[in-house]
């Protein structure tokens, strides 16, 4: 038995062991605190000592957040700050200068770099040097000194800016000091909805979404202002992403944005009870509004016999009630009531556009052909056939797997249990497989216990350090260096696909903290994001029995299963 005193010990990892930037100086933060929007977050210091202490407490809190969760970046004229379509976990405050907001810029002009992939040689070395002990780490990698992330793809400039601006539908929005952007992608764990470039020399404060979340908790006024901006911008970008709204004049779009209502249905913590469904609209209700899904999933149902059957599923960007409302707009009385019902699966965020608003600002701008096509009465399917057809999808929905974009499906009619997939995964992760070849089954399909890289990764919500994040290409990955082993992500994952492990040194001994407790780290499938041939599990299966699939792509799944 090894003497406990000879075991490798490190300081137990804590939040803010790794500052976002080692270059962020306290003096810079103090200067920032005197500027908007931070200055107004701190309550004015009154005469009384007690309130003075409270103001000081808030100031210290904000100062700590900025010191550890933010960094200052300088951009030159025409330099790209964020790209539309990238995943981002940070927001930006404009300290000085200006930025311009551009939509649908040609991707070839964005100078997007390739995701960092390790070379074949480094993979070869890794395979040869894989440790024999599970979860082996080099303790030195947890040295808290230094910044955790570098600014990627420095100095990419947008070329031919006048032409890009001329190609924009409307004059680009310009933002100046004190304003914030990037908060939609950061707070909703979704892709950036616009490209932002600096229009002159600009200094920005980049803040991690955890820092933004903490600032929102500290200041009520800041929370309200971010909420307002967030709602308006996310609404506008969602509408612009849908074909139906793309040809609207700016005035009509603005009227819709102003008149839209936000509707949230179901429990936000749906991951604690994945089976909940909450009715949103009942079949036969008066068709009063057009509904657009912002996030989450809903099922569309139709009454049959003593119950109802599911005709289809709705996800982000899907529109409900268009057919009925258009028919009502065209004077057809049968359009007065919804022909289907919808129910939220877990938690659903929707936008409701009242009928009167659509009659004035949406439908008059649609071309006649489009009007007729949308208003065409959809032929009701055979309920029993629909029920049979939807059984696989029902299984995915009932188990909430529908959230997965890279779900590991195993065709059990082909799987021989050879474990080549497990071995391939292990060889890519220092001999540690990052999934379990086991899971819930429907007929010959198994959904294995592997991270599904969800459309809405709820695992990311509570991470105190931002260790679990989206890579540039959208994979949900964990930074082992900044993970403090708090288990928040593992507890949040509704699919039990994140595992906590006790790490060891290269000799196989557990790494302990100052109190001789083992150090934990969260681990999961990272889709081999740094592997030139990814994902290894899928590539290693000799029987084509394993695929990583987007569960919303029902046709692709059925094609594969044939």
């Amino acid at each position: 038995m090894t003497d406990v005193n000879t075991r490798t010990q490190i300081k137990r990892p804590k939040k803010w062991d790794h500052a976002f930037s080692a270059d962020m100086a306290p003096e810079q933060v103090d200067a920032l605190l005197k500027r908007e929007p931070f200055a107004s977050m701190i309550p004015p210091a009154p005469e009384s000592g007690a309130d003075d202490a409270k103001a000081e407490k808030v100031r210290v809190k904000i100062r700590d957040i900025l010191l550890n969760e933010s960094r200052l970046l300088n951009f030159d004229k025409d330099e790209i700050v964020v790209r539309q379509g990238d995943y981002g976990a940070t927001a930006y405050f404009i300290v000085s200068g200006n930025v311009s907001v551009l939509f649908n810029v040609d991707k070839s002009m964005l100078g997007r770099g390739q995701a960092t992939k390790k070379s074949l040689w480094s993979h070869f070395k890794r395979v040869l040097g894989n440790p024999d002990t599970p979860e082996a780490r080099d303790p030195e990698q947890y040295d808290p000194a230094g910044a955790t992330e570098d600014r990627l793809q420095q100095g990419v400039f947008l070329q031919d800016v006048p032409r890009v601006i001329a190609a924009q539908k409307d004059d680009p929005d310009e933002m100046g000091p004190g304003e914030i952007f990037g908060e939609i992608g950061a707070l909703s764990r979704s892709i950036r909805s616009a490209t932002i470039i600096a229009t002159r020399e600009t200094q920005l404060l980049e803040i991690k979404w955890q820092g933004l979340r903490d600032l929102i908790q500290v200041s009520k006024s800041f929370r309200e202002s971010v909420d307002k901006v967030y709602r308006e911008r996310s609404l506008r970008s969602l509408l612009l992403s849908l074909d139906l709204f793309q040809k609207l004049p700016e005035s009509a779009l603005q009227a819709l944005v102003d008149g839209a209502e936000f509707v949230s249905v179901g429990k936000r913590d749906w991951n604690t009870n994945a089976q909940d469904t909450t009715p949103i609209v009942n079949e036969g209700d008066y068709a009063s509004a057009l509904l657009i899904l912002r996030s989450g999933f809903a099922k569309k149902t139709k009454a049959y016999g003593h119950s109802e059957y599911t005709t289809s599923y709705l996800s982000k960007g899907d529109v409900f009630g268009l057919e009925e409302m258009l028919r009502a707009y065209q004077g057809d009385d049968s359009g007065n009531s919804y022909r289907h019902g919808i129910a939220a699966l877990g938690y659903t965020d929707m936008i409701s556009l009242p009928g009167s608003l659509c009659d004035r600002h949406l439908f008059p701008h649609l071309e006649a052909a489009a009007l007729d096509a949308h208003a065409q009465e959809s032929t009701p399917g055979d309920p029993l056939e629909d029920t049979k057809k939807n059984q696989l999808m029902d299984f995915f929905v009932d188990e909430r797997f529908i959230n997965g974009t890279e779900t590991m499906l195993i065709n059990l009619d082909r799987c021989t249990g050879c474990d080549d997939c497990v071995r391939a995964c292990a060889s890519n992760h220092d001999n540690n497989p990052r999934f379990i070849r086991h899971g819930k089954q429907f007929e010959n399909i198994m959904v294995a216990n592997a991270c599904m890289h969800c459309a809405d990764p709820v695992c990311m919500i509570g991470c105190p350090t931002g260790a679990i994040h989206r890579s540039e290409n959208g994979q949900v990955v964990i930074n082992d260096n900044t993970c403090i082993g708090c288990q928040t992500c593992a507890n949040s994952c509704p699919y039990d696909n994140i595992r906590m492990v006790e790490i060891r040194d290269r000799k196989g001994e557990y790494i302990l903290d100052e109190q001789m407790r083992p150090i934990n780290k969260a681990t999961k499938c990272d889709l081999c994001y740094d592997n030139p041939v990814a994902p290894a599990c899928q590539n290693a299966c000799p029987h084509d029995a394993l695929r990583r699939v987007n569960l919303a792509d029902e046709e692709a799944i059925k094609d594969w299963l044939k």
């Binding site: 070869f124 009619d413 021989t416 391939a424 890519n428 007929e443 030139p532 290693a540 084509d544």
Partner: protein, 269 residues
Amino acid sequence: MNQTLKRSLKLLVTAAALILVYFVLRHLTRSDFQFNYALGWLLFGCLLFLVCFNWRKKLNFLPIGKAATWAQIHYYLGLLTLGLMFLHIETLWPNGWFERLLFVSLSISLLSGLMGLLVSRIYPPILVKRGPQVLYERIPRYRREVRQQVEDLLTETVRVTKRTSLADFYEAKLEPFLLSQQNFIHHAFDSAAPAHYWRREFQAIRSYLSEGEQKSLDQIEQLTQRKVNLDLNASLYQIMRYWLFVHIPFSYLTLFLAITHGIQIEQFS
């Protein structure tokens, strides 16, 4: 295109390749020796490529195609190799002892491969049909759990009914069955005999038990059927895994013997 049509086409292409090789080599060579010499090298190349599949599995980070594509090539190249082997030896049983050794080794390697291919196509649907499927590594644990549950039930039944008929039945019949994996051969042929056997055994004892004991018997019967299913899973997984313990060593042995055979030919022919 459905699977059957695809497979038929691939078999047709393999057969056509074999015929093509024969005629091309006959056309290019001037004697039987030259023909066999060229065929030997081709056979060796095929063997080398077949063995490469095993190496590819270990170097899965290399961008050299999916394992599923390699597997398809492996299957049909294996069949082609079988045809080339018979063209090369020109008989069903070679003359010299070394050639016989090489022939036996290659035959075992090819036949075990063919068996592996068949079981990997036939067994997975059986496991789905007879479900639930379990992880092979967890089977010993599940087996222990089944036995423990049966013993707990028996203890409780004997305590309540004060009768030992069920315990006697367990000791005489059931315990040896629950202790270890059973009926390997039956399961290898997807036979329902083990399930029927236990149904008959339970039926036989049922009429001699009290009402309370019968209730326990129902639960024990369910657990026994679970054990039958665990044995089925274990047997089929073992065959699907362990055929490689024949196939791979004999493949490497064949490669080694083929190299030796090549050296002999080069040195002494």
